[in-house]
C-alpha cells in the first residue's frame, strides 16, 4: 500500500511543478551581453510573476543559430550576423535591437602590466596574433614568451577584434597558443598566467586582468574608458544587440522594452557598458 501511495505521489509532484502555465522566454548567446540580460530578467520577473525568463550562455554564434532554428525567442549577440548565417536560415527574419555599447580590449596579465606594458598599437597586436612577435621583450617588456589567447571562431568578441586588428573577422591567428570560449574562461586563464595576452569585453577587467590602451597611427594613446567608448574614439567598439525572429511581440517585446527603458539602461551602465540612450 505504501508503495502504491508513493507511486501515486510521483506524478503529483511533477504536476505540482509544472501546473502554473507561465509564459517562458528563452534567451541565449553572447557571454558579453549575458550579465545585463540575466540581471534584467531577474528584475523583470519580480514585477511579472507570470513570466519565466531562462538565460543561457554559449556565445554569439550559439545565439544566432538558436534564433535561426527558432528554438529560442531572444538571441544575445555582440557582433554582426554574417551573410553565411543569414543564408543558413532563410525562414527566419533576423531582427536586431541594440541595447548598449561596449569596447573589445586587449588585456594582459597584471605582471605584464606592472612591468610597463600599458599600450600597444593595432599593428603590434596584429603581429602578435600572426605569430611574428612572440616575446614580450620585443615590446620592451620582460623576457617572457607571450601566451597568446584566441577565442572560439564564432565568438562576438573575436569577430569584432579580428575585423579591426587582422582585417578579417574570421582570420586565422597563427600565433595563438590557446583557444578559449566564454569571457570568464579567458579571464581565469589570464589570471593564472603571468605573460598572457587576450581579448575581453570592457566589462570583464579587474585588478588581475588589465586592459591596454591602443596607440593610434598618429601616436595618440586611447585608453579604454567609458568616455572614449561613448565618443567613439576607442577603435574597437561594438553594439550589444538582441536578435529576434521578426519584430518582437507580446511578452518578448515587453521584456525588450524594459531593457530599453531608463531602468533597464541603468542595468547596462551598472555592468560597465555604455547605455544607448543619450
Amino acid at each position: 500500500m505504501k508503495k502504491f501511495l508513493l507511486a501515486l505521489s510521483i506524478p503529483l509532484i511533477f504536476s505540482a511543478c509544472s501546473k502554473n502555465n507561465k509564459q517562458v522566454i528563452n534567451a541565449s548567446g553572447s557571454t558579453t551581453v549575458l550579465p545585463v540580460i540575466s540581471t534584467a530578467a531577474e528584475q523583470f520577473m519580480k514585477t511579472h510573476s507570470d513570466v519565466k525568463i531562462i538565460v543561457n550562455a554559449g556565445g554569439s554564434g550559439v545565439g544566432i543559430n538558436q534564433v535561426g532554428a527558432q528554438q529560442i525567442e531572444i538571441g544575445m549577440i555582440s557582433r554582426n550576423i554574417t551573410e553565411k548565417e543569414t543564408s543558413q536560415y532563410p525562414k527566419t527574419k533576423f531582427t536586431i535591437t541594440p541595447i548598449g555599447r561596449d569596447a573589445v580590449v586587449p588585456v594582459v596579465s597584471s605582471e605584464i602590466y606592472d612591468a610597463g606594458i600599458r599600450s600597444l598599437s593595432i599593428n603590434q597586436l596584429a603581429k602578435i596574433y600572426r605569430g611574428e612577435i612572440s616575446n614580450w621583450k620585443e615590446l620592451n617588456g620582460p623576457d617572457k614568451e607571450i601566451l597568446v589567447i584566441d577565442k572560439e571562431a564564432a565568438r562576438g568578441t573575436r569577430h569584432v577584434f579580428m575585423e579591426i586588428v587582422l582585417g578579417d573577422k574570421e582570420a586565422q591567428a597563427a600565433g595563438a597558443d590557446l583557444v578559449l570560449g566564454a569571457n570568464n574562461e579567458e579571464q581565469t586563464a589570464i589570471v593564472q598566467s603571468d605573460a598572457a595576452l587576450g581579448i575581453l569585453s570592457n566589462a570583464w577587467m579587474n585588478k588581475d586582468v588589465k586592459g591596454l590602451a591602443i596607440i593610434m597611427e598618429n601616436g595618440e594613446v586611447i585608453e579604454p574608458t567609458l568616455e572614449n567608448i561613448v565618443n567613439g574614439k576607442f577603435p574597437i567598439i561594438r553594439d550589444l544587440d538582441l536578435v529576434t525572429n521578426g519584430e518582437p511581440t507580446g511578452i518578448t517585446k515587453e521584456f525588450i522594452d524594459y531593457i530599453l527603458s531608463d531602468e533597464g539602461q541603468k542595468i547596462v551602465i551598472k555592468n560597465e557598458y555604455v547605455s544607448i540612450a543619450k
Binding site: N65, A69, Q88, Y89, D150, E152, A153, L178, Q192, S193
Partner: protein
Amino acid sequence: MSASQNNIGKCYVLVSTYLSIAIVAIIFVVLFLSSYDAFANIGWDLFSLEWNPSKDKFGILSMIYGTVSVTFIALGISVPLGILTAIFISEIIPEKYRLYIKSAIELLAGIPSIIYGLIGIAFFSAWVSSFFELPTGRTILTAGILLSIMILPTIVTLIEDALHNIPKKYREASKGLGLYQFETITKTLLPIAKKDIAGAVLLALGRALGETMAVMLLIGSIDRIPEPFYNVLNPGQTMTSKLGREIGESAFGSLHFSTLNAIGFLLFLIVITVTIITQLYFKKERRL
C-alpha cells in the same frame, strides 16, 4: 504465476532488449546520415591539418592526434598504477580491508567529469605550468594525467576482480612448490588473469576516448599538432573537445555541422571496434 503473466513478462523483456538495440542502431544511422555531406564533399581532405570553417577547410588530423596522444598518456599512467593497486588490494592487504579500499577507489568513478575539469583548471594546470615552467598549464599532458585518474577505477576494479576470482588452489600450489609471494603473483596469478587485464584496459580505453568535459577544459583547444609531435607539453585538441566547443556554434545542416557529426561518427566507429574486440576476447576465454 499464470502462463499469461509469464508471457507478458517475456514480451516486456523482449521489447526492452530490442529497444536498447534500436537506440544504438538509430544513433549509428543518424550520425552516418548527418555526416554524409562531410564525407561526400570533403572526402580524404578530412585527414588534413587546416581547420577553418569560414573557408570550408575541415582537416581533423590534429584532433585525431590529440585524442590518440591523450588516450595514450592516460593509459600509460593508469595501467601500471591500476595493475599494482589491484595486486595490492587482492593479494597483499588482509581480506577485511579489501572492500574498504576498493570502494574508496570506486568512488573516483562516481565523481562527475566536470568536477575533475574544475579541479584540473583551478589547481592541476597551475601545478603543471609551474613544475615544467610553461607559459600555460593547459596542455595535452595535463589532460592525459587527469584522464588517467578518471579511468583508474575501471582498471583497478576489473583487474582486482579478476585476481580475486582466481581459485585459492593456484596460490596454494605455488606456495607448495616453494615460490615466494612475488613469484606467485608474477608467474602464476598475472598470467592467468592476462585476458581480464586486457579486457579492463580496453574498457578503460573506451572511456578515455569518449571523455569530453574535463579534457575540453584542460587541453587548450587549439587545432595544432605540436612540434616535435611528441612534445605533449603543448596545448592541443581532441575529437571530443572539438565537438564540445563547436557543435553549438555550427548552423544545423551546414557543412560545418556535418563535419562535426563526421568526427562523432569516426569516434563512434573507434569505440565500437574497441568494444567488439573486447567482446570477442572475453568470449573465447575459458573460465577456470
